[in-house]
């Protein structure tokens, strides 16, 4: 039986020397395989790859010693450097927020007028506030604070409570109709018990309030006086600070055309603004409040 590992027995090899055919163009040996005249170069495995592999293996040994690596039962080898990614991230985060503290901490204690009059502080704070706003508020209120369907506009002068930064901060902190013990309430009850015809008349009346075409002496006006004025004020001008909007300024969140008012009357409204006190720091909330308070000036070009 011939020895299969002997090169002299391989196909294409010289039976005496064991040498296979040398390719005249590249100078490389061939594998000895022949497929109908096509032969294959026996090109050596590139040295650089072998070295890269060797270096990678060597590095892994170094890494095992220095870094957390092998699992051992309930524990793992922690490495000489004692690195802990979780701890590093938390420290990095505290460094990151610590770097902001030199100016951000001023938003914890100082009054809004004092903060607002400090132009240097505002130059640093407002771009940061804009990012905070995009990340947390823009989803509902829009990137420019122009509101959305069912979400209030923040860049105008209409406010359910007040456009004052301190009041806005309270709203951000505790939310509206939110899961927070100190949340603000803004509840429009359903008037589905009212006859449809009455509701339709009332809707027409309310839709006419902003342009002054509503007749307070009409039957719908009486309905309005009986059912709506306790929250929206006698003339519908609102401003009672109980979350009921003025109905005279055409800035109602959900719209004030008769059809929408009909929907509001039948199903009520119970818009929710989440409470942000657990998610954002006090300073961040105050910063955002100041940012939102000055949003309404952008439209008028006063700032």
């Amino acid at each position: 039986m011939s020895n299969l590992t002997d090169p002299r027995n391989l196909p294409g090899a010289d039976p005496h020397t064991g040498n296979r055919k040398i390719d005249p163009v590249t100078g490389y040996d061939t594998t000895g395989h022949d497929w109908g005249g096509i032969t294959e170069l026996n090109t050596a495995f590139p040295r650089i790859v072998i070295w890269a592999l060797v270096l990678t293996f060597l590095y892994s040994v170094v890494a095992w010693i220095l870094l957390p690596a092998w699992p051992i039962g309930r524990d793992y080898t922690r490495g000489l450097l004692g690195l802990d990614q979780g701890k590093e991230a938390v420290e990095g985060f505290h460094d990151l927020s610590g770097a902001r503290q030199d100016w951000l901490s001023r938003f914890e204690g100082e009054g809004f007028p004092a903060l607002q009059s400090d132009a240097t502080l505002m130059a640093t704070a407002m771009p940061a506030a804009a990012r905070l706003f995009s990340d947390n508020c823009a989803a509902c209120h829009g990137t420019l604070g122009r509101g959305g369907p069912g979400f209030p506009v923040l860049s105008d002068d209409s406010w359910l409570w007040s456009g004052d930064a301190a009041e806005i901060a309270t709203t951000i902190r505790h939310g509206i109709n939110a899961d927070d013990p100190d949340t603000r309430y803004a509840e429009m009850p359903s008037f589905d018990w009212m006859a449809r015809s009455d509701r339709a008349a009332l809707a027409e009346f309310v839709a006419g309030l902003p342009n002054g075409s509503a007749d307070f002496g009409s039957p719908a006006g009486v309905l309005f006086a009986e059912n709506c004025t306790s929250c929206h004020g006698e003339t519908g001008a609102g401003g009672l600070g109980i979350g009921a909007p003025p109905l005279t300024d055409a800035a109602v969140i959900y719209g004030q055309d008769p059809e929408t008012v009909m929907q509001t009357l039948r199903r009520g409204r119970h818009g929710v603004m989440p409470a942000w006190s657990g998610r954002l720091s006090d300073a961040e909330i105050n910063l955002l409040a100041l940012y939102v308070a000055q949003l309404d000036h952008h439209g008028k070009g006063t700032q």
Binding site: I50, V90, E91, C140
Partner: protein, 242 residues
């Protein structure tokens, strides 16, 4: 050493054996820690399982492929902590079968989403994301307004209970009623629901329509529960404060 390999390649059985040995080292390193996972992953005392409605929402989340674009894992990097909140702990997904950590973020991470936006926003956003986020490339899911199928909920709970999620017999039996109760907080069923799940799970008419229990109710309940099952990650953040 290269000669050894040269010779090994000629002995096929030896080569197979060597491949198995080499590959199993990688496998053992990954698998071995799982044998002690009960001891290494500490379940926080305040970790609660999903309610049946949240679980139904989770199934819809999987069905619609939300995980393909949204991860549910805040990585342990300072920037991630700054944007999303504390990094995700293994224990947070102890009751997730399968886990939905994901690795691709076409949309933002959702691990800390619960409570960030209102239910109304979620409903509007799922029906048509462009209505609230004009530049969004997320698909619309208008069919979520259809009625929720709760038939398999008890079986789902029973399956998860076998995998170690702490659902008891009562929870498994009342799964369908509890799913409805969570979205009807004023109904008499609410007492039983709170007896079984406590007062922590948010109970609201999630989709704003009290006449029907919809897939939207379930999905929004699930989304609002993300990151709220335990406070443990927030404790790691506070402990690291210097």
């Amino acid at each position: 050493m290269l000669k050894l390999h040269y010779n090994l390649e000629k002995i096929s059985v030896g080569l197979v054996a060597a491949i198995i040995v080499a590959a199993s080292i990688g496998g053992i390193v990954e698998i071995a820690p799982l044998f002690t996972i009960d001891e290494t992953v500490e379940i926080p005392a305040d970790l609660r399982p999903y309610t049946p409605l949240e679980l139904a929402g989770r199934e819809i989340y999987i069905r619609e492929g939300c995980y393909a674009c949204h991860s549910q894992m805040v990585r342990s990097l300072a920037d991630e902590l700054d944007r999303y909140g504390p990094y995700s702990l293994a224990a947070e997904s102890a009751y997730d079968h399968p886990m939905l950590w994901g690795s691709k973020r076409t949309g933002p991470d959702l691990a800390r989403l619960g409570g960030k936006y209102s239910d109304d926003w979620h409903v509007a956003h799922l029906i048509n994301p462009r209505s609230v986020v004009p530049a969004s490339i997320m698909p619309s899911y208008p069919w979520l307004t259809r009625t929720l199928d709760t038939e398999l909920l008890s079986d789902s709970l029973a399956t998860l209970a076998r995998l170690g999620v702490p659902y008891d017999e009562g929870m498994i039996g009342a799964a369908e009623a509890d799913a409805l109760a969570q979205s009807r907080p004023d109904s008499a069923m609410m007492d039983g629901f709170q007896e079984r799940y406590g007062e922590r799970p948010a109970a609201r008419v999630f989709d704003g329509d009290p006449s029907r229990l919809t897939e939207m109710d379930a999905l929004v309940a699930y989304l609002q529960s993300l990151g709220t099952l335990t406070d443990a990650p927030y404790r790691t953040l506070a402990e690291g404060k210097r």
